[in-house]
Amino acid sequence: MTLFFSNVRRLKGAPAHPSFYRSLWLHALLLLCLLWQMPISSAKGVYLAPRDFLQEVFDDRPPPTQTLWITKEIGQGAEEILGHPLRVMRVHYWAQGKRSVWILEEIGKEQPITVGIVIKAGRVAQMRVLIYRESRGDEVRQPFFLDQFKGATLQDGEELDRTIDGVSGATLSTRALTKLARLALFLDRQRNAHGSP
């Protein structure tokens, strides 16, 4: 540290001495070594197994799996939300009373993010990132981000009734989660419209 401040003093106009440049190189080398040693953390992980999420939501007694067939109309709506067609023609959900649970996936940058979404009376009651496969951007699993979705509902154009503040460095993951919240609300509305219990 003393060396550093002595360098700063020298930078303020004093004539450069060879030792000044030597110490400057030393500092650069030290910085490189520090960067080299910095741990590279991975954001990947199963944070909550989908089965455990269901157990948690339904107090260890999840209802049987139900399915929603993706008709042409539903498929078009889903495609407008996602920006691409759904990857399956039949979606699973679990419902009890006014609650329905959707375990959905959407690609953030390169890998799918698995998210569990609880919808209650047409609003997002809970949202959890269950499996995150991207190498970075997993801050979207933190409550400070996910809590923004609580109470959200769909308005015209299948948009959320609120703005979701993104997480810097996780723009694509933020976008993927927002799409999934919209999709879950949309699918829940479809299941009600199609007379599912």
Partner: protein, 250 residues
Amino acid sequence: MVRHKKHHGVRLRSLFLWHRYFGLTAALFVMTLAVSGVLINYSDELQLNKRPVQADWLLDWYGIAAPAIADGYAAGPHWVTQVGERIYFDTQEIDGAAPPLFGALQLAGTLVVAAGNQLLLLTPQGKVIDRVGGLEGLPENIRAVGAAGGHVIVQTAQGDFQGDDQLLAWRSIDANGVDWAQAAPLPTPLRNTLVKEYRGADVSWERLLLDLHSGRLFGRIGVAVMNIAAVLMVLLAISGVWHFFKRKRR
């Protein structure tokens, strides 16, 4: 004073000489980095991540060998095959299917593929209808898939199970007269196409450019060379600026 000026001139010339050598050495790398960098920046627009590299010599360079293809499963007029870690419906990779492949069959116009820890239901065109796994009640440790009496049967380490019409509820059965999916040799043209398909799918142009940019294309030595080139470019910048101010001072 004269000696000092002469000495100063020699130092400046020597600095200029070093600057030229750094420049000459770094030129090739600057070109490589600049061109690959610009292309990487426009990777999405140019869809480079979706364009597979198909040149055999480049795939050989990456060491992507054609995998040994095991026999496939005939499901109606179609074939379901595992190639490496991918599962194919004819020549099209099945979205979301993970190995190992345990079997495939056609039942009432729907293809049922048992792979990894799930059953995949496909249309005759290969579009995924649904994926059914443990979360939906599918028994674990599947070893084979078959059909009996219009129902799908799975053989697991815990016994045989019969699925309901939706394949969302399973009950244990004593399986008799089950028509289990049997592996069979693939037709040669299909086998050849699959080898080509598999090799080409692994390396995109984006991957190639990223590896060229970082030097990884040439292994650890390539990365080291690129690091040295980066240092050279820094030295080039420093010596250039230094030279500029020294000349200005004169």
